[in-house]
């Protein structure tokens, strides 16, 4: 607790000191991060910020990038779009950052895009929604797989098992609803029929009413797109109602706390996840494996169990650093062009191949289908 206080005081002191600095050629590179550090999506922003801090400290210890140190300015959006806009304006106008990382959530990211485009500053988002980069926005990139890829992965797995009738149950948050939209959009393409479509409030304590309806439908499988504690409630209540249909969750629940909360009911749940959670189970020949293990070891030695969200921040920082190195300075337009030229960069989420038409640069193969088995993740073939 105390370290939090000192951190904030030293951050404040640093800010003050930063403000007093006269402009010089050796100015630090300023990266602005706006993340959900509080509120229902705090579990996203927290590992993201920790990752950024850890790796920026590391880079600075090694002499910085292009001979300049990196300065991190962070701002908590609380998952509130309005606050996200305020954060971005503060980072751009007061902290004068050279590059933005963030939007832990799609909602936060979408909210700031007008301000970012107007300020002409590169933004690397850490959120899943496909609408962030589709249609392509000139200044906006992102590192996580899209929810469309997650849906594609789930549907492919369903087809493999010969299941075609599914019931959806989603929350009322942005993540849930944009996932739900993708589920509807992709269904015909995979020959999947949606026979039930339920929603719940993300704060709800009980989902049995919705699940009872699903139980009475002729669904062959249930897909729950959501995050926070709600998916754990869904998983538990499904078990309570004696529902034996295969249950698919989204990549929104890839964290140890989901397994803890859902308890025994989580057994057998399948979901698409980044390779990070099953890093050890990957074949040694996989070029991603050393990157994943290195990140995981570093994070866990400092903060405890790793989560994929921190991995997105790692990818974002690495893409940015590589682009700065190639550009040789932090001119915003040059930086943007270099980010767009990212190619063959092996990150936590997969291998990034960005193009002017593709501002995420990942394909669905970056997702792995995993199953919860004996309280941990098992890579499915």
């Amino acid at each position: 607790m105390r370290s939090g206080w000192w951190r904030s005081m030293s951050a404040a002191a640093l800010l003050l000191w930063g403000g007093l600095q006269v402009a010089s050629a050796m100015e630090p590179i300023r990266i602005g991060a706006f993340l959900t550090l509080t509120g229902p999506s705090a579990s996203l922003g927290d590992p993201e910020l920790k990752t950024l801090r850890s790796y920026i400290a590391d880079l600075n210890a090694k002499g910085g990038v292009i001979g300049r140190t990196i300065e991190l300015h962070d701002c908590d959006t609380g998952g509130n779009a309005q606050q996200a806009i305020a954060c971005v304006k503060r980072l751009i106008e007061q902290d004068r950052v050279d590059l933005l990382i963030g939007g832990s959530t799609t909602g936060d990211t979408m909210a700031v895009i007008p301000a970012v485009e107007q300020a002409r500053i590169p933004l690397i988002s850490l959120a899943g929604g496909i609408e962030i980069i589709d249609p392509v926005k000139h200044w906006v990139f992102k590192t996580p797989h899209t929810d469309r890829m997650a849906v594609a992965k789930i549907y492919a797995n369903l087809r493999k098992r010969g299941l075609t009738k599914v019931a959806l149950i989603t929350g009322d948050g942005g993540f849930d609803q944009s996932g739900r939209a993708q589920l509807h959009q992709l269904a015909p393409q995979y020959g999947i029929a949606i026979v039930a479509d339920e929603t719940y409030g993300n704060q709800d304590a009980d989902m049995t009413a919705q699940l009872a309806r699903i139980k009475a439908s002729n669904a062959q499988a249930i897909i729950n797109f959501g995050f926070g504690q709600a998916p754990a409630v869904v998983t538990r209540d499904a078990k309570q109602l004696g529902i034996t249909l295969p249950l698919y969750q989204s990549h929104g629940v890839v964290s140890q706390s989901f397994i803890e909360q859902a308890g025994a009911a989580a057994e057998g749940v399948r979901l698409p996840a980044a390779a990070l959670v099953v890093a050890e189970q990957l074949p040694d020949a996989n070029p991603q494996k050393p990157v994943l293990l290195a990140y995981k070891r570093r994070y866990e030695s400092q903060y405890g169990p790793v989560s994929t969200f921190g991995g997105h921040a790692y990818d974002g920082l690495m893409i940015a650093v590589a682009a700065i190195r190639r550009a040789g300075d932090v001119d915003k337009a040059k930086l943007r062009d270099e980010i767009e030229r990212t190619s063959g960069l092996i990150g936590v989420a997969g291998v990034f191949e960005m193009t002017p038409e593709d501002h995420v640069g990942l394909n669905a193969d970056a997702f792995r289908m995993v199953e919860i088995h004996n309280g941990s993740w098992r890579l499915l073939p």
Partner: protein, 336 residues
């Protein structure tokens, strides 16, 4: 003379950006504070003067914002026309709702307005085809005012500051007229007000509509300024915060409401540096202000200041009236 405070405040609002033209706190946070001030001043007419609580005011704010957002993005309406439509929708709904809702008193009224706010919020989240759902609507075009396109934070500061000053001016005028006295009479004693020939149900309806109009107006500006709207900005927490602003600043005082709005907005931004301690400090400050200045920051501090001046032998002109008051009921402003 009557508006001396107003002109002083206006001068400050104009001077600040001239002194700090690129300061984030003045320009961006200031604009946000200004929007909140419009909302608080409007809500204060209802809560402070007419004595009717509303815990659902964010709904009207949201209606203005979404009317502008939907009409400009989906139907290509010009911003000003959309703004008027937003006013119309919010005003009409407030008018329809006012009679049944304002029959209720105290906490029942609080509950009913709260429920109304929750229902509107649920609709904003669920009616995805119209509202864009929880992710909201983006790409709202900049506001065009008779050929001038408002762009950039400094210009927005100007527009919002002007709108806020207009709101404060309108509110000051209203309060200091027979309309305002009738509202305060409704608050003071509904029986007596009726016996003076005031149709209290009608007066309450009117003030409900007017304060909804203030909120919808702020909402339209907000939508254009942010170029983005999402349901989060109009949920219960926002409604509660608006009431907090009114009470924190000083109930039944136009400047009190505006000051409360500005103070709370600055506070929320200022506390960000405390990270995890933000909530703890925010809560403690709210409690402290209300315990030590139950009449609110603006009104309470004003009274303390006057008392202080009197002790120093200043402010004699007001003294004559004040000394008489000691004979009667205790000064409601003094903390227990």
């Amino acid at each position: 003379m009557r508006l001396a405070g107003f002109y002083g405040f206006a001068a400050l609002v104009v001077l600040l950006p001239l002194l700090f033209p690129n300061d984030y706190f003045v320009i961006v946070v200031g604009a946000s504070a200004g929007l909140h001030a419009i909302l608080a001043v409007g809500l204060n007419l209802l809560v402070g003067y007419a004595g009717q609580i509303s815990l659902g005011h964010a709904a009207f704010f949201g209606m203005g914002a979404y009317a502008s957002a939907i009409l400009t993005t989906r139907f290509g309406w010009p911003g000003l026309l959309a703004l008027l439509a937003g006013l119309l929708v919010a005003g009409l709904l407030a008018w329809l709702l006012a009679r049944p809702i304002l029959r209720l008193r105290g906490h029942y009224l609080a509950m009913a307005t709260l429920g109304f706010g929750v229902i509107v919020h649920v609709i904003l989240v669920q009616a995805t085809d119209w509202t864009g759902g929880p992710d909201g609507l983006s790409g709202i075009p900049p506001l065009n005012l008779f050929g001038w396109t408002v762009e950039g934070d400094l210009q927005w500061y100007g527009v919002i500051a002007a709108a806020m000053l207009l709101a404060i001016w309108l509110s000051l005028n209203l309060v200091d007229s027979q309309i305002g006295r009738a509202l305060r009479a409704v608050h003071g004693s509904e029986f007596a007000a009726q016996m003076m020939g005031i149709d209290t149900a009608r007066a309450k309806t009117q003030v409900f509509v007017v304060s909804a109009l203030f909120a919808a107006f702020a909402g339209s500006l907000f939508a254009h300024q942010q170029a983005f709207v999402s349901p989060d900005s109009f949920n219960l927490a926002v409604s509660v915060e608006l009431v907090t602003m009114v009470v924190l600043g000083g109930i039944a005082s136009t400047f009190g409401a505006a000051c409360g709005a500005i103070a709370l907005t600055l506070l929320r931004q200022g506390l960000v540096v405390f990270e995890d301690y933000e909530m703890l400090i925010h809560g403690a400050l709210l409690m402290a202000v209300m315990i030590f200045l139950p009449q609110g920051l603006f009104v309470g501090l004003g009274q303390a200041l006057r008392t202080g001046l009197r002790r120093c032998g200043l402010g004699r002109r007001r003294d004559r009236h004040r000394s008489l008051s000691t004979a009667g009921v205790q000064d409601p402003g003094s903390p227990p």
